[in-house]
């Protein structure tokens, strides 16, 4: 598929008008191409059946489609084994599964956990809850002024705290920083820490390879990569997943149930208790095909150009302060900023009147905002269907808002 015509695949952008939708909230959720909407629709119309248990043709076909996506995801992130791919409801569920499993089995009172100051609340809050339960110690890697992780600082913290676990986001959902996860994972493994990479913000933008960085766990969501809501992935190394206790107990995840006890099913079923969202899994499979047909490397190159353009263009807005890296290299197309004297929510409301959808607030990263002494910022997050002329529209709308408030 040609990246320059990819926008045509998205029904939501087909509405014409004086102020067509400029959708800049892709870090929250992306729009959906027709192929995914159609595939899910088709499943409900002609393919719907429970997976795994039915012996009739319709159920067997649903099961086959469902399990094929597992192989597809395995190849997409270059995992070694299909049973290392667990379907979850999203990155938040994936991270919670790891945190609660590790806290229950691997960790003891006083153990250190190392996270970064740019983590999403989905990483921070589960660990805070686990830390309270198990008396663990949380440490946070500070950020540089331009919103990056300094590898030397990270290595010093590894040496000082000897953490049992390191959790880091691949790409910041606020700053757009692409973290040096490869080097971080290597350094963390040297001291025996378990590494979880939060790929929620990178899966739609960068090629993912769970061997580089060498991840023990990796989490991402379908809806941030053009797929449906309510479906996500937990990747875990087989040896670790085998030792990890399940989070959801119930149907399908068992081997045998007696009055006395239950033995659990092998991977991946152990972690997929209950009836799974089959249509969403199928939708995720189509989303991955869609990304692959454009090509992640092509997407990366195209978005780098958009990033460079946006960084230059946003400089023209009076009184703007941009958070995060100032160069396009090592940066995803996410731009958070403040404008002196104008509240982020006022900016977002006024942009909405121009058909421009942005996010205002702390973007589930309050600790990150505290780093910059801010309560909130405006976030513009792009992806491959955004255009240079949309960025121009944004810049002139922002300049008009500044003028209005003067």
């Amino acid at each position: 598929m040609n990246i320059n015509t990819v926008r045509k695949e998205f029904p939501i952008f087909q509405k014409r008008g004086a102020k067509p939708l400029a959708y800049f909230d892709n870090a929250a959720t992306t729009q959906k191409p027709k192929a995914i909407i159609d595939a899910m629709d088709k499943f409900y119309r002609v393919g719907n059946a429970p997976v795994h248990r039915g012996v009739y043709a319709l159920a067997e076909s649903a099961t086959e489609k469902y399990e094929n996506v597992r192989d597809h995801v395995k190849d997409f992130i270059r995992a070694k084994h299909r049973e290392e791919i667990i379907f979850t409801s999203g990155a938040t569920a994936s991270i919670n599964m790891v945190v609660s499993g590790l806290a229950e089995t691997f960790l003891r009172e006083g153990d250190h956990i190392l996270l970064s100051d740019m983590e999403h609340h989905a990483m921070i809050v589960p660990w805070q809850a686990a830390a309270k339960r198990k008396k663990l110690k949380l440490n946070f890697i500070p950020l540089t002024k331009d919103g990056r992780i300094d590898l030397d600082v990270f290595k010093k913290m590894l040496a000082k705290h000897k953490p049992k676990f390191v959790g880091v986001t691949h790409v910041s959902n606020v700053l757009g920083t692409v973290n040096p996860v490869r080097e971080m994972a290597a350094a963390a493994h040297k001291i025996g820490a378990i590494v979880l990479v939060d790929a929620a913000q990178s899966a739609a933008h960068l090629p993912i390879d769970v061997r580089k960085p060498d991840c023990d766990f990796l989490a991402f969501s379908g809806h941030k990569m053009y797929g449906p809501n309510g479906i996500g992935i937990l990747y875990g190394k087989r040896k670790l997943l085998e030792k990890l206790p399940p989070l959801m107990y119930g149907g399908h995840m068992i081997e045998q149930v007696t009055r006395e006890k239950t033995t659990y099913a092998p991977l991946p079923d152990k972690f997929e208790g209950g009836t799974p969202p089959v249509a969403e899994v199928i939708g995720l499979g189509v989303a991955i095909s869609f990304l692959q047909s454009v090509g992640l490397k092509t997407i990366q190159k195209h978005e780098e150009k958009l990033t460079a353009y946006a960084l230059r263009a946003l400089k023209d807005v009076p009184n703007i302060s941009l958070l995060g890296p100032t160069t396009a290299k090592g940066r995803a197309p996410v731009f958070s900023f403040t404008i002196a004297g104008i509240h982020p929510h006022d900016i977002a409301t006024l942009l909405d009147r121009e058909g421009i959808a942005v996010r205002a607030g702390h973007h589930c990263a309050q600790i990150l905002h505290e780093n910059f002494s801010l309560d909130a910022s405006v976030r513009v997050s792009l992806c491959f269907y955004n255009t240079v002329s949309e960025i121009d529209r944004l810049v002139s709308a922002l300049s008009a808002i500044v003028k209005k408030f003067q």
Binding site: I342, H343, P344, H345, D346, T349, L350, A360, G361, H362, Q366, D375, A376, K404, F405
Partner: protein, 131 residues
């Protein structure tokens, strides 16, 4: 421009130069409210004379144009009213004073000053009596 626009010049002027902005010493009542969406906060202080009339009102904190202007306008209205009268005031009064159409996402910004007033008027408000 639409005269019912929440971002009309009159409202922006209240944001640039809010009335009754600041803090006072020895208020009769004070309470703070936090906006759950953006974390903005507002502290409202009232001085009430023995007859129950509001003689001085101050608000402070950080906020957007809508919450700041609405606090400015609402506090102007409170001045000289009795506490008894304030107790009868619903959110409709702010809407009436603001004369603006606003969507559900930003409505709480406009009503923040009403929320904090309810805190003052409720039984558990911090009554700062200096008699």
């Amino acid at each position: 421009m639409n005269e019912n626009d929440i971002y009309r010049e009159e409202i922006l002027e209240h944001y640039r130069h809010p009335q009754n902005f600041g803090t006072m010493k020895n208020p009769t009542y004070e309470a703070e409210a936090i906006h759950p969406l953006c974390g903005d906060s507002i502290l409202l202080q009232l001085k009430v004379n023995p007859k129950g009339v509001v003689t001085q009102v101050r608000f402070s904190g950080s906020g957007c144009a809508i919450s700041t202007a609405s606090s400015s306008i609402f506090t102007e209205w409170m001045l000289g009213k009795t506490v008894k009268k304030l107790k009868t005031v619903g959110t409709g009064q702010i809407q009436k004073l603001m004369r603006a159409q606003i969507g559900p996402a930003r409505l709480p910004c406009m009503l923040l000053s009403h929320v904090v007033l309810q805190k003052i008027l409720s039984a558990d408000a911090s009554f700062v009596s200096r008699d």
